[in-house]
Each structure stands twice: as C-alpha cells, then as structure tokens.
Amino acid sequence: MILDSEKQWFHRAMPYAVLLFGLLIVVVPFLFMISTSFKTQQFTFEYPPRLIPQEVTLRNYQRALSTDQFALYFANSLGVAVVTTLSTIFISALMAYAFARLDFAGKRVLFYLLLVGMMIPPVMLIIPQFLVAKRLLLLDSFAGLIVVYVTMNLSMQTFLLRGFFEGIPKELEDAVRIDGGTRWTIFWRIILPLSRPGLATVAIFTFLYSWDEFPWAHVAIKETTRRTLPVAIALFQNQHLTQWGQVFAASTVALVPVVLVFIIFQRYFIRGIAHTGLKG
C-alpha cells in the first residue's frame, strides 16, 4: 500500500519536476539580462557571475533612454507596429471577406497565388524588395517598413480570417441584404464586429512580427534617427562591445510590450498558433 501511494506521488510530481527544470533553462538567460541591466559597469562581468546585483543602479536605463536615444527608437518601433497592425487587419479582412463570401472570376487562382506568399521565406525577397523600395523612394522611411511588413503578413492573416468569416452564419448577411444593405455594410457592420477574436489574433501576431523584425529594417533604414529597436540594439552592441548594462537595459525595455501583449492576450495567442501554425 505504502509503496503504491509512493509510486503515485512520484508519477504526479515527475511532470512538475521536469517542467521546472526546463523552466530554469528557459528563464535563466532572461534573468541575467534583467540583472545585468541593473549592474554598474564594473560588475557586468564579475567572477563568479551573480544573478542578484551587489549594487543596483538605474544609470543604464537613464543612459539608454536619453543619450543613447532608445526612447526615440521605442517610439519608432511603436509607431511602425501600430500602423502595420491596423493596415494589416483592414487589408487582410477585406481580402478574407471576398474569399469567404463572394463569387468572382479567378477565385481559385488568386487564392493559390496568395498561398504562395506563405511558402516563400521572407529573407529571400530582401534583395528585390530593396531595389523596388529604392525605386519607389521608400528606403529610409517608415512607409517602406510598413508596406513590406503588411505585405509579408497578408497571406497568413487573410487565410486565418477567412476561416473566421466562414464560421459566421450566412442568414445574418441575408437579413441585411433584404433590407437593402450593400456588401460594404455587411462587411463593416456585421462581419468585422462579429470577428473580434479573429481580429485580435491577427493584431497580436502582426504587432509582434513588426516589433521584432530585424532583417528588412536592417537593410532598409540607414538614417540613424529612424531605426527601430531591434536594429538599434544590434548596432549599439556592435559599436559598444562592453556596455552590456546599457544593451540589456534597452533590451529589457524592448521586451516589456511583448510580454504585456502576450500575457493579456494569451488565449487568442494559443488559439492562433494551434489553428494555423503561425509563428510568434
């Protein structure tokens, strides 16, 4: 009997033990980032390494946000991410509605064409996108970032929203049409309000994509004052190899919105990943 209950206890505790061990590996690097961001310069590489700073300072944050201009980069990232998110929602919802509810010539062909967009790894398009953006005078501008970010998200988000829209009962639309409503009325008054969870999923993924994106911003922006956070952090570290306190202060600040968005919208997130295989 005793043996049995011991065995049961072991079976119940084992998953927690394994998950906690994994958790340690996942979290410790982040703890070092946060702890180093509060350390003074002389202690950033103390030996043995300590997780709890001996001397806590806010100087790294002050420096990073003022002299190193990370407040500006934060604002740049925020502006680009917000406009990218709103535009992506609007444009992909329009497309998704057409694919979900309307009949038109070439529907299948256009839909497959859109799916092609999901199969091309983004970095491979960087060279021609750079040349196109150059010709359209979009280099070194937020517009150039936003236009490419929206485009790179269109396929996936249209695909996701189409699924949501198809789940909305058609009878609701018919009622509006009998009352003389146009397609636009249906889209704007019925479909969008009823798809809030779907739109939220799109918003979160697009926001995080834009917030974290590095390769395109890295080649498209040369003007220092227009950098976004990932590019600014990478280039700052490259120029100030030893200023880990400031690098990690900026990184911690950059991570705050990501964690907030994720925790607040966790359930939309998990559903989005599970249903479509979207990558965060």
């Binding site: 998950l19 329009l94 497309m95 309307l102 529907k107 790179m152 249209t158 990558k279």
Partner: protein, 333 residues
C-alpha cells in the same frame, strides 16, 4: 442579345448560365437580363475585386514582382547605381557561387545547423508538451514561460547568448569550470569557427522548443481520453500507450513541424550574423543567408547575392515538396 457579356470569361458564371438555361428549358428566360437573378453575380464579382484590390496591389508589388525580378538580377552583373548598365552574364553568378569554398562552407554550416536543431527541438517539444498535458496546476504559467523565448526578438536573445558565452567571465564557462568541473580553462566560444556553432545551435533549439510544444499540446488535447483509458484498462503501460496510441495520432502534427522547422533551419540568419559578426573569422562561419547579406549589401554584388538567395529558395521548395510527399505516404499508412 441577352447573352451576358462575360459568360465566356468565367467558368463559374458559365456554369450558372447553363443551369438557368436548363431551368427555362430553352424558352424565353423568365427574367430580363437586368433582373436580380443575374446581376448579383456580376456586381458581386466587381465588388469582390474592390475588396481584393489593396491587398493584391501590395502582393504584386512586394512579393510576386520581386520573385521574378530577383531571378533576373541573378543572371546579371547588377549595377545598383545604374541598373541600365548592368551586364548580362548568364549563369556566371551561379557558377561562381558553386565554386566558392566560402559558399560551400556556408552550406555545410547551414545543413549542420538544420540537422542538429530540428530533431532536438521536436524531441524536447514532445517531452514538454506531454508533461504540460498531464499537469493540473500552473498550466498557464508554464505555457507563458516556455513561450517567452519564441516571442522575444532574435536580436535580444542572440545578445543574451553572446553575453552568457563570453570567454572571460561568461556564465556558461563558469558553470562548466567551477560548478561542474568539466573543463580546466575557459573556452573561447566566440572566437573559434567551430566552437561558435555551439551557442548558435543551442540558441536555435532554446528559442524554438516553446513553439513546437504549443502546437503539439494542441494536438495532444484532441486525443480522446477514453482511448488511453481503455488501453490502460487492457493493461497497456504508459510507455506502450505513448508508443502505440499517442505517437501515431501525433504523426500529422510531427510532419507539419518537421517541414516548418527544416525550412526555418535553412533560413538561419540573425543569430549567425550577430554572433559571428558577419562570418568572422575569415568567412568560415557563414550561413547561406549571412553570406547572401554580405555579398549583396557589403560587397554590393547584387547579382551574386540574388543567385545565392534563389539557390536557397529552390532548395527550400524542393525539400518541402519532397517532404510533404514522403510524409503524406507515411501518415496515411
């Protein structure tokens, strides 16, 4: 006269036209052409194009056109300043690429990265997902925590790893030397072309496990618990249940993960770029895409860079098609 103008241009429309004819049995149609039966379709079509216009405009300009443009550039000695002065060189960019030892080494590094990180990620993700599925408490907490590396930008996690793998006083060397006593002297992880692959590969695994685990967890939760209970009643051990019930049911998900992760692995970029400072020392630590970046934006050899990126595009495409075929067969068995 009454024939709809576009009946020949659209198959679905023609189909409808025929069904209407059948309905009316060759007699005069009951509705004139302007009737509501006919025009919802036509105006519906037009409305649809308005809905699609903004999206496909962007799509054409920044995805479809670039795909072909890139192919064209790869056949030229491309002049960035004056594209008109570019010289057509045929396959020379591709030949040069294939004969370049730096490129071959980059391909080797990329394949090694994929072969190492993909199976490890999947294996660890299966473990995490199975245990996440079993626990009763702290579910959300664990899920959020394991997902943290996934949503953090590659730049930040790469810099954290660079810090942890520092040769002088980095945490990893401290762990190996003073805590576990596995090494006698600190290892210079970031200065050696082989050793630097260790943090890069570990980072790839560390950052990816959470994503695969969440996908697998979703698949696990669909497995009916009656199935496992019935097997348990019949005397199947947990190991047997896992091997003969869970794994077969997860197979489609595992197949999906394999394809996506292989493509992701071949596209390794930011971690390589930042941890090796763009292929240093001596261009021996490149991956395909970091070399593409250097060729294009440092050396301004856009033709050569386009050739590299097209090479990778084709490889990725072929691999995903072959994998999909193979896996579909296995999944159906």
């Amino acid at each position: 006269m009454n024939k709809p103008i576009d009946s020949s241009t659209t198959t679905s429309y023609r189909h409808m036209d025929q069904s209407i004819r059948k309905l009316t049995d060759g007699e005069e149609r009951p509705f004139p052409a302007t009737s509501s039966n006919r025009f919802p379709k036509l105006s519906g079509s037009l409305v649809a194009y308005w809905f699609l216009l903004p999206g496909f405009l962007l799509f054409a300009l920044f995805i479809i056109y670039p795909m072909f443009y890139s192919l064209r550039i790869s056949f030229y000695d491309w002049n960035v300043i004056l594209p008109a002065n570019s010289e057509f060189v045929g396959l020379q960019n591709y030949r040069q690429m294939l004969n370049d030892p730096i490129f071959r080494r980059a391909v080797g590094n990329t394949i090694a990265y994929t072969v190492i990180t993909v199976p490890t990620q999947i294996a660890l993700a299966v473990i995490v997902a199975v245990f996440l599925d079993q626990i009763a408490h702290w579910k959300t907490f664990f899920r959020v925590a394991y997902y943290l590396p996934v949503i953090t930008s590659w730049v930040i996690v790469t810099l954290i790893f660079e810090y942890l793998f520092n040769s002088q006083a980095g945490f990893i060397n401290y762990l190996l030397q003073d805590v576990l006593n596995l090494i006698d002297a600190p290892i210079r992880w970031l200065a050696d072309p082989i050793l630097v692959m260790v943090p890069i590969n570990l980072l790839g695994i560390w950052k990816g496990v959470g994503w695969s685990a969440i996908i697998l967890l979703a698949a696990l939760q669909i497995i009916p618990s009656e199935m496992l209970e019935a097997a348990a009643v019949d005397g199947a051990t947990p190991g047997q249940r896992f091997r003969y019930i869970v794994i077969p049911l997860l197979r489609p998900t595992l197949a999906f993960l394999l394809i996506v992760l292989v493509i992701g692995g071949l596209n390794v970029y930011i971690s390589g770029l930042l941890l090796t400072n763009g292929g240093q020392p001596l261009d021996r630590t490149h991956f395909v895409l970091t070399l593409m970046y250097k060729e294009t934006f440092d050396r301004l050899n856009f033709g050569g860079g386009a050739a590299i990126s097209y090479f990778l595009t084709v490889v990725v495409f072929v691999i995903s098609v072959v994998q999909m075929r193979l896996l579909r067969q296995r999944v159906e068995l």
